[in-house]
């Protein structure tokens, strides 16, 4: 079997797992940012007066309609040209950019979830004179999340699979590690096969988990 070398695979694995650690950090950090910022955007777009709401709308449309990798390289270059910002690590820049990128998608999920809250709920809130912030937190958001959580989970998995774009700004995540190992030893097959398997091993159970979450959320 000349196309597969077990020794190479065994050598690559610890390096790949270390790269996977970086991938995980990027995914978790990016997801945390996107979940919070996405909600913030959704609320902002709902509550801002019309004379100003076009501005965040424009920004959201801009981010959604340009490729993630372009955004990564653009911001990274901007940072590396500035003497104070250059100290910020590529990984940090990457996490923030990927988080912002996905927040524009997640905000759409939140919006759909909030829209799905029946009119009667808003009327009951109004009839009880409940203050807006409290009622959003205790009534609207919990109901909206039922429709939103599964789609947030799907975006988190999508983000996970988008982390290899961080290669473009020299973050040594899983795929870049595989690339470097392949370049050094020519064992590309082993390195990339293992990288793919590691991705699969992480994202498949996660999507099953999301589906279970979806089911449990379907009933109160």
């Amino acid at each position: 079997m000349s196309w597969w070398n077990w020794q190479s695979a065994a050598d690559a694995l610890p390096l790949l797992l270390k790269g996977f650690g970086t991938t995980l950090v990027a995914t978790l950090g990016g997801t945390a940012i996107a979940i919070v910022l996405g909600l913030l955007i959704a609320v902002l777009l709902r509550t801002l007066p019309t004379w100003i709401v076009w501005l965040p709308k424009l920004v959201v449309a801009f981010i959604r309609n340009t490729p993630l990798v372009v955004q990564l390289v653009f911001i990274y270059t901007l940072f590396s040209m500035n003497d104070t910002l250059i100290a910020i690590s590529a990984l940090t820049v990457g996490i923030v950019v990927i988080g912002i990128h996905y927040s524009t998608y997640m905000s759409e999920s939140y919006r759909a979830g909030i829209d799905a809250v029946p009119q009667g709920q808003w009327e009951a809130i109004s009839a009880l004179s409940l203050p807006p912030v409290r009622s959003f937190r205790s009534i609207v958001l919990p109901q909206a999340l039922r429709a939103t959580v599964p789609s947030l989970g799907n975006y988190a998995v999508a983000m996970f699979k988008d982390t290899p774009f961080l290669m473009a700004i020299y973050v040594t995540e899983l795929v870049r590690t595989a690339e470097q190992y392949g370049g050094r030893t020519f064992a590309y097959t082993e390195a990339f096969t293992l990288a793919g398997l590691i991705f699969l091993a992480a994202s498949y159970p996660t999507s099953l988990l999301i589906r279970r979450l979806e089911k449990s959320l379907a009933t109160y």
Binding site: E123, S126, L128, S129, P131, I139
Partner: protein
């Protein structure tokens, strides 16, 4: 607002209230008053504007023109220097928090248990602490006969039970005014009586001002002192339920009643 001849400030006063939806005019300059503690039933064919009247008082709809006063205070707009001025939301809520409404489709909060539904507004609008709010809520649940359901979610209750919870939720806010919007229309016939009995008890034991939109004519007769017959946004006639139901002066009312009582 000066007191009326009876020396009492009305609980509700409509002054030249107009309501348009697009180019469809529902109310074209409506005037009426409801005295504190009075129970008034609004009847009339669908589309006659009865429900709109309740929704205007609850501020679920905004009035196109005119004024509504609640206990002598402007609800959403006041006249200032000859101009009609909208009041700030906080001031509006200060008035509406003493107004309760029960809806046709209950509108309980499905993500909360029964008791949570009942304590939410007392805690966060009236400022009760959790223990006070819970004690009060339990008392009300007992009154509507649902003490054993306090930790259930609304989806586990029948329509009639949900509506009784919704009534308790409205009462938990100590309303001066209670608006009942076709509260039995969405219920299976065999569940209607329990709900109506609860409302009869409340009518008897409290002096809450009630505005009722219903097709249950016997209930209207039992609890209300006055019936107002609406058609196309105007009051066609009004009077004591015994007079209106047995001896209406308008042909339109007669027709409507015979259709409903069938």
């Amino acid at each position: 607002m000066p007191p009326t001849e009876t020396g009492q400030v009305p609980a509700i006063e409509f002054r030249d209230v107009k309501k348009r939806f697009g180019d469809h005019t529902v109310l074209k300059g409506l005037n009426f008053t409801v005295q504190p503690g009075e129970r008034v039933t609004l009847i009339g064919p669908s589309g006659s504007g009865k429900t709109t009247i309740l929704r205007l008082i609850m501020t679920l709809e905004s009035l196109t023109d005119g004024y509504i006063d609640v206990h002598g205070k402007p609800l959403t707009h006041e006249e200032r220097g000859g101009k009609r001025v909208a009041l700030p939301g906080k001031q509006v809520r200060a008035t509406t928090k003493r107004i309760g409404m029960v809806f046709q489709h209950f509108n309980l909060f499905p993500n909360m248990t029964v008791i949570e539904n009942l304590i939410e507004a007392p805690m966060h609008v009236l400022g009760l602490n959790k223990a006070e709010a819970t004690t009060k809520a339990r008392g009300l649940l007992e009154k509507v006969g649902l003490s054993d359901k306090e930790s259930e979610h609304p989806s586990r209750l029948s329509g009639g039970q949900q509506q009784r919870v919704a009534i308790a939720r409205a009462l938990a806010m100590d309303p001066d005014i209670l608006l009942l919007d076709e509260v039995t229309s969405a219920l299976d016939p065999e569940l209607v009586d329990d709900v109506l009995q609860v409302l009869r008890d409340i009518a008897q034991e409290t002096d809450i001002t009630m505005l009722i939109v219903t097709h249950e004519m016997q209930f209207a007769r039992d609890v209300s002192q006055r019936v107002m017959m609406f058609d196309e946004g105007v009051i066609l006639e009004e009077g004591h339920p015994d007079d209106i139901f047995t001896n209406p002066s308008q042909e339109r009312t007669r027709k409507f009643l015979s259709a409903v009582l069938d």
